[in-house]
Amino acid sequence: MTLAISGTTGITLATQFDSASTFGFKNRFINGAMQVAQRGTTGTSGSAVPTTTPTYPSIDRWYAYATGATVSVAQIAGTGAIKNNLQVSGAASVTAVGVGQRIEQLNCYDLAGSTCTLSVNMSNSLLTTVTWTASYATSANTWSAKTTISTGTFTVTGTLANYTTQIVVPAAATTGIEILFTVGAQTSGTWVIGNAQFEPSTTVATSFDYRPYGTELMLCQRYYYRTTASGTSYSIFGTGWNESTTTGNHSIRFPVTMRIRPTALEQSNTAGHYGVLYAGTFIVATSVPSFVNYTNSDMAAVLITTSAVLTAGQGSALSSQLNISSAYLGWSAEL
């Protein structure tokens, strides 16, 4: 860094401090450190190259697919100063694997017409070639069609190391940017990815942008939100009223305004994990909680069914069964 003091221009901090990527939200990836995993620490990839609806198996914001057979994707412990990485475990018959992130238009609009730097930690115990591909959506945040910006390869080893490349983002790329990492037949072994960063920079990759965990979680919750029972006593998800003697209608405010109105509700597949709390009594559900169209980007509505013992019109709460920690409700507004 150069510090220049001039009677004419004042104090000038050159190079690092006036770099485009130095201040504020320089890493346009969300959860590049792989620390947020609301869906759980392990999951199964999608089974085909995604178009409009990728599969997000584990770590927030990172979709994964495999062809030939699915693969396990997990959040694993890192080493040294790195807390977590994403790990793909190879499987027989796999012909290709992809891990990627789609950056929302509003978070990369300013990158159009500039040069950016992609940096990422990687290792692979089986394969040595990782292909990266940058694309932009044909229309805003709509990925049914996309245009390739550029592509290239990293030659990786079994030891985690940092790889960087420069990407010239065209002026037309104002619709959202996707970075996809792919490998070939990962039929065994593991592929590890961490500290992924995509930043505006015309020179070199800068240090990884660690954001506070709470900030990163909130950034993730714009795209996916899951609330999980505490496992202690009854865990209240939301409050509302008994719509009839057999149904409760309850509302849950999202912690962050979601990108778009969610159109589905995820749950644990077990009706007995959920129920209605009212008048000092827990009434177990007879079917799993259901999505309700009243849901918007700020608040969810959930319908729950019980035996005909509720009093219509009374206030009530949607709750987990006693001491159940596997009950959850989840909503997606992913790209």
């Binding site: 409009t52 159109t263 589905a264 509700l265 995820e266 749950q267 597949n269 259901s290 319908l303």
Partner: protein
Amino acid sequence: MIYKILLINIDGLAIYARIEDDGKCYLTCAEDHPEFKEWVEAGNTPLPAEE
């Protein structure tokens, strides 16, 4: 994996349950859910609601 109609809301719109190959249901959705729309556009038809 299939979808079946779970219920009709008071707004007249259907809610669908996604039934996995093992019979489990982890997701219910509206008819404008992107994954459900893709499934329908692929030529599939949701099952009617159970009586």
